[in-house]
Assembly symmetry: C2
């Protein structure tokens, strides 16, 4: 298996991206293709022992920055690392593509660049996904940013894609699908969510109804469906709150000598807790609905997170996630419950 990795993606590119690729090549024994400005990438690569590893470099002269407007950047930078890597994916030269860059840029690259892989047949809109740590495990969330305004049918398709991914790639049998809302009752939600609720009830899914913000992280559902606006707010609020709370605890401990001793003794417990909640463990989330395995990693990833994002890519490719989603969407159409027929492209 060959995995392309955007060497110019993350906030700390190319250091962590290249180091992540090296670590992944060693750990998983697959071929890595680093895409980026060749001299810079080779200079980074030279810092690591790559004996026995298969790591190729493909040159791309441009880079899409974090704060660039996605579709404009993609149009004006046809030789960016994202576009070049996506072309490799489209042409079947790699089995998956991982980037920690501008997520809107990755999406735009998949849909509208010279490397365009396009959408899976029948998919109305692709969704960006992520894994959210919960009390007992993890929840798979989508969309977290591709589509700020959604139609009810899009949310229904996100549910299908999320359930397929959770079952086939994450190994969750009969995953519980929840709809993010401002209350548990069916009557809650904005107009789009209320309509989506009706659609989800008709689909062949283990739909557990609306899920509130407070129940998300308690593990009320395995798959959380949302528009890209509220989903983004939820996942970033969870991330920010966890980090804020740890800061507050740390500062209160530091203010008390005896508590500092206590904190030292309790350190292994804190570490274990942090590990359970560490976003780096799952590395990245797939861009679901596009015609190829594309994994979007966190912009502030470190090498360990990048390494795990490559693992996610390998698992998604090995489990034929694209084909499985195609079938899931098609099946929902055949059963007359879909939606796929409404593709307006």
């Amino acid at each position: 298996m060959r995995i392309a990795l955007d060497a110019m993606g993350s906030d700390h590119a190319p250091q962590v991206d290249v180091e992540g690729a090296v670590r992944a090549a060693r750990r998983f024994g697959q071929e890595m293709v680093l895409v980026g400005q060749e001299d810079v990438v080779r200079q980074e690569l030279a810092k690591h022992d790559t004996t026995g590893l298969s790591i190729q470099v493909v040159h791309a002269s441009q880079r899409i920055e974090m704060h660039e407007h996605p579709s404009m950047a993609v149009r004006s930078k046809p030789d960016s690392s994202m576009v070049v890597a996506m072309r490799l994916l489209r042409d079947g030269e790699v089995d998956a593509f991982v980037s920690a860059g501008n997520s809107g840029g990755v999406l735009a690259t998949a849909l509208a660049s010279a490397g365009r892989v396009g959408r899976i047949k029948g998919v109305l809109r692709p969704a960006i996904s992520s894994v959210l740590p919960t009390l007992e495990g993890r929840a798979f969330m989508l969309d977290i940013g591709a589509n700020a305004d959604c139609k009810p049918e899009w949310l229904a398709q996100f549910a299908i894609m999320g359930a397929v991914y959770a079952e086939r790639v994450l190994g969750i049998t009969n995953p519980r699908v929840g709809l993010l809302a401002n209350g548990e009752e069916e009557t809650k939600g904005n107009a789009v969510v209320q309509e989506a609720h009706g659609l989800l009830k008709q689909l062949d899914l283990n739909f557990v109804g609306n899920v509130e913000g407070k129940d998300l992280v308690k593990g009320a559902a395995d798959v959380i469906v949302s528009d890209g606006f509220a989903g983004n707010v939820a996942i970033k609020t969870a991330e920010g709150t966890a980090s804020m709370l740890l800061s507050v605890i740390r500062s209160e401990i530091k203010a008390r000598p005896l508590a500092m001793l206590g904190g030292l003794l309790a350190k292994p417990a804190f570490k274990a807790a942090a590990r359970r909640l560490d976003y780096r463990e799952y590395g990245g989330g797939p861009l679901l609905g596009v015609n190829g395995v594309v994994i979007i990693a966190h912009g502030r990833s470190d090498a360990y997170a990048m390494e795990n994002a490559v693992r996610v890519a390998i698992e998604a490719a090995q489990n034929h996630v694209v084909e499985t989603i195609r079938q899931g969407i098609e099946k929902s159409a055949i059963s007359g419950q879909s939606i796929a027929g409404q593709d307006t492209e």
Copy 2:
């Protein structure tokens, strides 16, 4: 000053509601009016020493439950504690009303019941607010549930009302107003948020732009403006994440004898951290935009939270929040920047 308190409101009513009223009467030296089923309320009151306190009981034979549909419940229960208390407010017999009951019910009672206080002139939609603990202090959020679908002008008015409240009641000079969004850039947000962003830039406010979920809790703004859907998701996700993280830390500490000792030594630090983040400290948030001081407390409030909700009510009434908001809305209209003229009622 006289404050009406819904004795049948909270999840643990009437115990905590009555106890909260007794504590508030003693702490603040104001008159309390408990509204609820008289025999039940008096039975609760008898458990406390009320010597020297001014606590009146007003009978209301019905109760609106947490899971009732607000407008239907309000219509079918004209003698509910909420409706009766709201009537006291409307008739000027009390200066404020506090309830930990069904928040949609409180809203519906304010707008459409026999006790209807109605909206402040020029206000398009009232908003439910809450205080969110942040790293260094607190942020004031609205709307957190009254309006799942909003128009841009409503969000602009929420900003005005929130800024007025933060300045006049919370004592924050020139409060920074942020708009909840899925990214900092002005181009982020759903369609409504993008349009609201344009309106907010034109208003005479200290508008700091879009605020992401992760920056909310870092204190990126003093007032966070949102529709009632995303605002509800954000505040409940923050609440759920904090509680989840504490559970995870607790379970990891308990799994290690040495860490348990450490946890014991660090307990005062944990307690201080918990106090900084405790929602009970601010008790409740005002229902802004209605023609009276109405405070909505958390459904799972305890007596201490109820006591603090009464404090919020007293502060809001003392600072003439209704009149100040009326002026704020009117001023924004006079300056040609509003919105208030679009009231369609």
